[in-house]
C-alpha cells in the first residue's frame, strides 16, 4: 500500500485534480479569441502539413498510405506523452506558492499535468475521427472494430505516463538537470519508437530492441487500432500492461521517498 500511496492520494483528491485540469484548460484558452477552437485548429493544421509534405516531398512506404493519416494518430499520441512529461517536470515549480502555502497533496500537480494534456488529446480526437472517416469514404482504408482497442491502449498509456510523471516531477525538485535529461530522452525516444514508421520498417534482426523500449508497444498498438485496423498481438498487450505497472510502481515509490522534500524545496 505504501508504495502506491501517491496513487491512492491522487484518487482521494480527484475532484481537485479535475478542477486543476479545468483551470489549466480555461486559463490556456481564455486569452485567445478562438478559445477551445484551438484544440481543433492545431491538429487540423498539423494534419494539413503532413498531408502536403508527404504527398509532394517524400514518397512513403507502400504499406502506410495514406501516410498523413498513419502519422496523424501516432504524432497526436506522442504529443500527449512528451508534453505531459515535460509539464510534469515543471509541475512543482509552476505551483510553488500552492505547495508552500497550502496543505495540498503534491501528487495532484503531476496528475493535473497529465490530465490537462490528456484533455487536449481527447479534444483532438474528433479531428482524427473525421480524417479516418474521410479517407475511408474515399476507399483508402477500411476501418474495423479494432478501432475499439484504441481506448484501452490509451488507458494503459495514461497509467504509464502518470507513473513517469510522478518520477519526473519528484526528481525535478531535487535535481536541476531533469528537464534536460527528459527532453533529450524524449527526442531520442521519438525516433527509436515506431511513431513515424510502422514496426515492420524495423529490420527483423534489430526488432528485439523494441522490447527494451517502453514506448514501442503503445505506438504499435496505436497504429494497429487506428490505421491498420488489425488485432493487437497478445505479446504487445502484455508488454503494455507490464510497462504501465513498472512505470507506476517505480514512479510512485520514488515520489513517496522524495515527497517530504517537495514542499520544502519546490
Amino acid at each position: 500500500m505504501s508504495v502506491l500511496s501517491p496513487v491512492a492520494r491522487t484518487w482521494t483528491h480527484r475532484a481537485l485534480v479535475r478542477a486543476l485540469v479545468r483551470r489549466e484548460l480555461s486559463a490556456r484558452y481564455r486569452g485567445g479569441a478562438l478559445g477551445f477552437l484551438w484544440s481543433f485548429v492545431n491538429p487540423l493544421l498539423l494534419l494539413l502539413v503532413y498531408a502536403t509534405v508527404f504527398r509532394f516531398v517524400f514518397a512513403p512506404r507502400a504499406d502506410v498510405r495514406p501516410y498523413a493519416l498513419f502519422l496523424f494518430g501516432g504524432v497526436l499520441v506522442w504529443g500527449f506523452v512528451s508534453s505531459a512529461l515535460l509539464d510534469a517536470v515543471d509541475a512543482f515549480r509552476a505551483n510553488g506558492p500552492l505547495l508552500r502555502k497550502t496543505t495540498v497533496a503534491p501528487e495532484v500537480f503531476p496528475a493535473a499535468a497529465v490530465g490537462a494534456r490528456l484533455a487536449h488529446l481527447l479534444l483532438a480526437l474528433p479531428v482524427l475521427a473525421a480524417a479516418i472517416a474521410v479517407v475511408a469514404m474515399r476507399g483508402g482504408i477500411r476501418p474495423g472494430p479494432e478501432l475499439l482497442e484504441f481506448p484501452v491502449v490509451l488507458a494503459l498509456l495514461v497509467v504509464a505516463v502518470f507513473g513517469a510523471a510522478l518520477l519526473c516531477s519528484a526528481l525535478a525538485v531535487s535535481f536541476g538537470d531533469v528537464r534536460d535529461v527528459v527532453a533529450n530522452l524524449l527526442t531520442l525516444a521519438f525516433f527509436v519508437t515506431p511513431v513515424l514508421y510502422p514496426v515492420e520498417a524495423v529490420p527483423p534482426r534489430w526488432r528485439w530492441l523494441l522490447w527494451l523500449n517502453p514506448f514501442a508497444p503503445f505506438f504499435a498498438g496505436v497504429h494497429d487500432s487506428l490505421f491498420f485496423f488489425r488485432p493487437i498481438a497478445a505479446s504487445d498487450w502484455l508488454r503494455m500492461a507490464a510497462w504501465a505497472a513498472v512505470s507506476l510502481a517505480l514512479g510512485a515509490a520514488v515520489f513517496e521517498r522524495l515527497r517530504d522534500s517537495i514542499a520544502e524545496e519546490a
Binding site: 481537485l16 497550502t102 535535481f175 536541476g176
Partner: protein, 419 residues
C-alpha cells in the same frame, strides 16, 4: 513557564520536542544537485540535511494547545514562526520530534495562495475550497456566503487578475473561513486588508472562539495579540523564549526588543560632529553612576553625574561649559550651561574637569544622547561635540514620555487594589 490551561481536556495541537533543519542550499531554490551525480551515488545522495550542514529553523519546541484556545505566536522575522505554522499544517515535516493535530485543520498562510490570475473568481473559489479540503457539494452550498463575505458579487466571472488586492484578500479569507476548521492557522494576513475587512475578519475569529474552535495566529501586531489571545508564545531564534498569558509574553518580548534596540543605539554613539574654533577642546566626556564610576547605563531615580575633561589652548577669560541631553530621535530633554546656572567666567587655563551632578535621574527608560560644549558667552563655540556619547536609562516600570518623576498613587473612596 508554559500554561497548559486545563489538563483534563486533551490537547488539540501538541508539539513535542520539535526541531526543523533546512538544507542550506534548499533556500536558494532547487536544482543545485544534479541527477547525474545522484544516480552515480545512489538515490540517497539527495537526502535529508543534518544539523551540521543545515539551517536550524526551530529547535526543541514543545507546547500544547487546548480546544477553544486562541494562541498568538510572536517574535522577530526569521525566528521560526512561519516554519512552525507550516509544520502544524503538515506542509513540512519535523526533522526531530512530533507534531499532532486532532481534527480538521485549515491553514491560511498566504491569502489567495491558490488563486490563478487568469481564471474567474468563481473557478478560483472552487479550487481554493478543494485545496482546503472541502467537497464540491460543500463549496456549492457555501458559495453564496463566501461571495457575500468577500463582497465580490459583480466580479465573480472576471479573471482574478482584474481584482484589487483587497478583493483577492477578502475572497481568500472568506473561503478559508468557510471551511469551518477545528484548528485554524493564520499567518499575518490581517495586515493586508483595509480596516473594514480586518474588523469583519476579527469578528469571524471571535465566532470561531465561541464555537470552541482553536485558532493559532502569527502576528507582528502585538496589540492585536494582547487583545485577541489569552495565551501567546514568543519565538526567538527558533526556540520558545516565553509561553504564557498573552499580556505577559508580549510585555517580555517588548522589553527584549527595547533592550536590543537600545544596545544598537548605544553602539551608534559618537557619530555626531564637532564644531568650534579650537581655543579649547573637550578631551573626554563620561556619565558616572551613583558610585561615581563611568557607566553606560543609569537607573531611574538614582543619582548620577555628567563629566567632561576640557583643555584650553591659551588662557581664556570668556568661557561657558554646557551639556545637553536629547532623545535619540533628537528631541531635547534637558540643556543647561555654567552661565545659565549662574557661574560667571573669570579665567580658565590648562586642563579642567567639569562635572554636573544630578541628584536623581528622572528620565523614562530609554536611550539618550549627550552633547557637550565649551563656548564663549556669545555662544560662539570653542568646541561643540554633538552626540558625544549615549547612555541608557533603565527602570522597573515603563512609562510614557521622557519625564519619569518620583511618584506615588493614592486614592480616596472605595477603591481597592489586589495585593
Amino acid at each position: 513557564m508554559s500554561a497548559p490551561p486545563t489538563p483534563a481536556v486533551p490537547a488539540v495541537v501538541s508539539v513535542s520536542a520539535v526541531s526543523k533543519v533546512f538544507r542550506r542550499y534548499a533556500r536558494r531554490g532547487r536544482g543545485s544537485g544534479s541527477l547525474k551525480s545522484a544516480l552515480l551515488a545512489g538515490l540517497g545522495a539527495g537526502g535529508r540535511g543534518t544539523a551540521a550542514n543545515g539551517v536550524v529553523a526551530l529547535s526543541d519546541v514543545s507546547f500544547e494547545v487546548a480546544p477553544g484556545e486562541t494562541l498568538g505566536v510572536i517574535g522577530p522575522n526569521g525566528s521560526g514562526k512561519s516554519t512552525l505554522l507550516k509544520l502544524l499544517a503538515g506542509i513540512l515535516r519535523p526533522t526531530r520530534g512530533r507534531v499532532e493535530v486532532r481534527g480538521r485543520l485549515a491553514a491560511l498562510l498566504e491569502l489567495g495562495a491558490g488563486f490563478h490570475p487568469e481564471i474567474s473568481g468563481r473557478e478560483n473559489v472552487e479550487i481554493n475550497g478543494l485545496l482546503l479540503g472541502l467537497t464540491r457539494a460543500q463549496i456549492a452550498e457555501r458559495f453564496d456566503a463566501i461571495v457575500r463575505f468577500a463582497g465580490v458579487e459583480e466580479f465573480l466571472d472576471a479573471p482574478v487578475k482584474t481584482y484589487s488586492s483587497g478583493m483577492a484578500v477578502r475572497l481568500g479569507f472568506a473561503i478559508a473561513a468557510a471551511s469551518e476548521p477545528d484548528v485554524f492557522l493564520v499567518d499575518e494576513v490581517l495586515a493586508v486588508g483595509d480596516e473594514a475587512f480586518a474588523h469583519r475578519a476579527l469578528e469571524r475569529f471571535a465566532d470561531f472562539e465561541r464555537a470552541g474552535k482553536t485558532l493559532l495566529f502569527v502576528s507582528h501586531d502585538l496589540n492585536l495579540v494582547t487583545e485577541r489571545c489569552r495565551r501567546a508564545i514568543w519565538l526567538e531564534g527558533g526556540r520558545i523564549a516565553a509561553d504564557g498569558p498573552a499580556a505577559d509574553t508580549v510585555a517580555r518580548y517588548r522589553e527584549h526588543v527595547a533592550a536590543t534596540e537600545g544596545r544598537r543605539r548605544l553602539r551608534e554613539a559618537g557619530a555626531g560632529g564637532r564644531v568650534g574654533s579650537g581655543a579649547a577642546t573637550i578631551e573626554s566626556v563620561r556619565v558616572l553612576d551613583r558610585d561615581g564610576r563611568p557607566a553606560g547605563r543609569l537607573k531611574r531615580g538614582e543619582p548620577a553625574a555628567i563629566e567632561m575633561t576640557v583643555r584650553a589652548r591659551e588662557p581664556l577669560a570668556d568661557f561657558v561649559f554646557g551639556f545637553q541631553v536629547s532623545t535619540v530621535p533628537g528631541a531635547v530633554v534637558f540643556g543647561s550651561n555654567t552661565l545659565l546656572d549662574g557661574h560667571a567666567p573669570d579665567s580658565f587655563s590648562g586642563a579642567a574637569t567639569v562635572s554636573l551632578a544630578i541628584p536623581s535621574v528622572d528620565l523614562a527608560p530609554g536611550v539618550y544622547a549627550l552633547d557637550a560644549a565649551v563656548h564663549a558667552r556669545s555662544g560662539a563655540p570653542y568646541d561643540y561635540w554633538r552626540d558625544a556619547l549615549r547612555f541608557e536609562v533603565t527602570a522597573h516600570a515603563a512609562s510614557a514620555g521622557v519625564w519619569s518623576p518620583p511618584r506615588r498613587w493614592s486614592t480616596a473612596g472605595s477603591v481597592r487594589w489586589r495585593q
